[in-house]
Symmetry: D2
């Protein structure tokens, strides 16, 4: 069995292998130039900061369906420990065990392969148990700050939350972009709001996971045409789930991560941001979203902040 | 045994309990107003981004001396797993176990107590094994973006790395500030460079840990006078180690975290930033340093980025 | 609020504090003398070994209801790694994160306290975040081998599985003992079969957990009278759940662990053993059930084996 | 590069592939028949139990040299938590993260491969990140109880501890067997004492690890001739280290685990047992050493107990 022609046709059109050299490991993040960041900083009007992350806790997003992707387990190893003797200053210390993709996170380019290949044509087997991702690991992303643009598809479609199974189309992105009043351009980080995370916030983790609205297989070409640096949204699956084409699973993951070399973000909470942008009518902002630099990791939790 | 009068005298002068209300959990981070952030964004000149974090890996900063503060253990739980059948898109997933204070991190206000009290007078016993920090946990910090100012004490003193055991004084901060050409003001995040992290970067973890240059017990008053929001540096111990006053351990931790309610950062790599600031002569920048919002945690890894 | 008189009356009758000295940390395990073990070995007739443990895996007993008691997360850190160069002998290594009470386990005496006290009157606060159980930790149990006796209460009551919420009484133990054809004596480890684990084996983790048959508050006196060394059964809750007396939660835990100083085992799979004993008509055997000696732990996984 | 002829010659002579069927996953453990265990139980004279395990704690055997093989990190997640309200019975719970081969442990047959093969000719790639060992995992060992025989090579050679780098030969095993006064026979578990663990007990972890006495490449034929079920000793490396033949690393591992299908134990503390056997002059006993049944794991901690 192999991936269908429909997939490969799109793959050819969005492929970025070699575009930034054969050794490049960060793909579309190369589009975030100093100048892009300089302009991003210039979008700041009020200095208001809106966090886009879910809390990291045992009662988190994961339901156990994805093996090994465990919610954060937090444990104290010292509590008010008077290390240097009775009456001295006391310290508390803690540890965590968690799946790196468990909560609000970035997928590294190495998170997905197809047909035995990672981004830039590297063999999939460069991901190993011993050292993790030898190519395209999250640790190669040293910083991730750029202009962010909220494409509030739910609002543009006149609803607060898209239906489970709804596929967000390029036309939806056009409409949301028009509502946003700014054109998406090279190096931008696009945040696509579906409203799906409301299920999670209301405590319905299973309803949040499935069925889910998400990106259509047709959207990677849109992002490619605009030279977007990265895309994140407010769902667990990122792309529409169940998928649009029978037996074609995770095509958007493969197009973004493998073909384009574009990082993806999932489980981002865009609710407060949607309200803020709706109030001001401004949908572009400075976005800070640097992942934790785990060496060899295929993803990382991230605590993104929009500065309006 | 109790803390000496020398400590309590300073404590009285820098105490911020009640200043932002009796329920406040974020202390001096209240000083980062929208206006402060707006001006911070305006410091961006070129858009160059400088990361300030160490890689997160098993071969990390910790030597085993601090019980439970384990270096990150990264493990793959899926590698190119064709979840949906042979020939489909394949996924890799990973997990991590780590001490939250193991690498480049923020101390939450709840990280330290003295005389049975946390910041704002809350009882130390609000930190529990069950839920962690019930007050002053890192998860209460929803965003951490402000103006950063590098006080390059090593350079101001004409050296590349301060001696082990050297106590950075208020006068050192004055000199570095004068060299920086900008006055530290309310809401700033101050980064104090000692050069000590060079030992760590050279692979000498034990020499990095001890003896260490670091902040003198006299510096909290300096930070308090300027209404600094947070302070980070490039050492493991943060304050000078061994301490200046015999048997007075971690006084700066207690003054910052408990008395002032000011978060501290440790193990920040300021080498590349020092070079960049030295080249441009500009030592102020936009600093993004939002911690991961672990619920109830007394600290968090952070991947800070200076935008110049 | 405090525990009711009904509890304290029983507590007085079964209390063993001081019986083996004021420094004793292993309680009724002292009853397993060399002679007891010598006789236990003499019960072996065929050499058939029956394992009593559940597999340790992510898809385990825990449902997430008990915070922090996580199912085993197993991850590979090396797979066929040719450590010494290509073509050399290759190694695979793995790590695990798990709740020590997550699967088939022993509760250490320090697992439970009431009224601020552990077994032998030690203060509950000897359990600390820093070092765990300073008294009565599982690591103080250096070996656990004795005669085991299966009291197959389900069979004795003519059923394959007791109803959820059924409280196993002293009279039930008498009947099962009579069926077993051996008198329970000092130093024995008693295994009480309810059949409840069938729910777990059939994949119904929630039904397994609740409601559950289990030991009545009246049974500790039975175990005390016979000077039993330890008791284990095939349920998650060990004692009947919901409890017999409104608002009196976990009284059997408190009587066994705190008052008697008797370790308890939970989630033991007694199905194969029940069949084996039923076939031979012999319900006594050599039982090996030494916990893993985690220093300062309040419990441990165990892989018990009955040798018939 | 491939393994030398010297290796392959021995491999042919000790190979057990197919001996217990092509689907067999437990190798020489098949030699532990009911009758073997019945006779093992009959060796018990006094009922004295001697534990053979090191404590499981952060301050453990591992030095960080073997990546990912981390010492146990123990943390409390509940301490005296009154789950059901104030004044009720209180519980303490804990979690652990550890390398499965970190302390006193068994290597599963899947722990090692050579030339792309595991025991019984199975492909090495049956060990995967997703499910671990699909063949020869430790979870396939349902019980491990047999006669144990201590071959006290150190004592037989008139020393308390063999020199680092000393290779234990078949002749040494013969001499120790003669001293033991019993002939090693089919299904026995052989414990080879070198005394090396004294370094570890004295706190010298590096000296314990290297250089180490251990089994010579000539000993697998001895174990094969006697049809031994399993072998364990009191070293980190199991076989002599550095190796006897230049660039032939871990040949004994490969011969035992891959060719013979015989589990190995490492870091067993045989000091107390040596004393006990020396006092009584009896070196055979009942040995209980069942691993924890981690599904898909390539090893497991074990708490072995000798019953004399």
């Amino acid at each position: 069995m192999s991936l269908p022609d429909a997939f490969h046709d799109i793959a050819k059109r969005v492929n970025n292998w070699g575009r930034w050299g054969t050794d490049d490991e960060i793909g579309t993040l190369n589009l975030i130039t100093d100048e892009v960041v300089r302009q991003a900083a210039a979008t700041v009007r009020t200095g208001r900061r809106v966090p886009l992350t879910l809390p990291l806790q045992q009662d988190g997003v994961q339901t156990g369906v994805i093996p090994g992707r465990v919610n954060p387990l937090h444990a104290m190893v010292q509590i008010n420990q008077e290390i240097f003797g009775p009456g001295t200053v006391a310290c508390s210390d803690d540890v965590v065990t968690m799946g790196l993709q468990a909560a609000t996170h970035w997928d590294a380019l190495s998170h997905v392969s197809h047909s035995g290949r990672l981004y830039n044509g590297r063999p999939a087997h460069t991901v190993t148990p011993h050292g993790g991702a030898g190519f395209g690991g999250i640790g190669t992303v040293r910083h991730l700050v750029s202009r962010g643009v909220l494409l509030d598809v739910a609002r543009a479609r006149g609803t607060d939350r898209l239906d489970g199974g709804y596929a967000v189309t390029p036309e939806d992105l056009d409409a949301a972009e028009e509502m946003a009043g700014t054109r998406v351009r090279a190096g931008d980080i696009v945040l696509v709001r579906t409203g799906q995370i409301q299920a999670c916030l209301a405590g319905d983790r299973h309803g949040y996971a499935y069925p889910s609205p998400g990106l259509s297989i047709r959207t990677p070409e849109w992002f490619h045409a605009r030279d977007v640096a990265a895309v994140a949204n407010d769902t667990l699956t990122f792309e529409v789930f169940p998928p649009e084409v029978a037996n074609l699973w995770l095509p958007v993951h493969a197009l973004h991560l493998v073909e384009m070399g574009m990082p993806q973000g999932q489980n981002w909470n865009l609710e407060e941001l949607s309200t803020a942008c709706g109030e001001t009518g401004r949908y572009a902002f400075l976005l800070t979203a640097t992942p934790e630099p785990f060496t060899g990791a295929t993803g990382s939790p991230v605590a993104p902040v929009a500065v309006l």
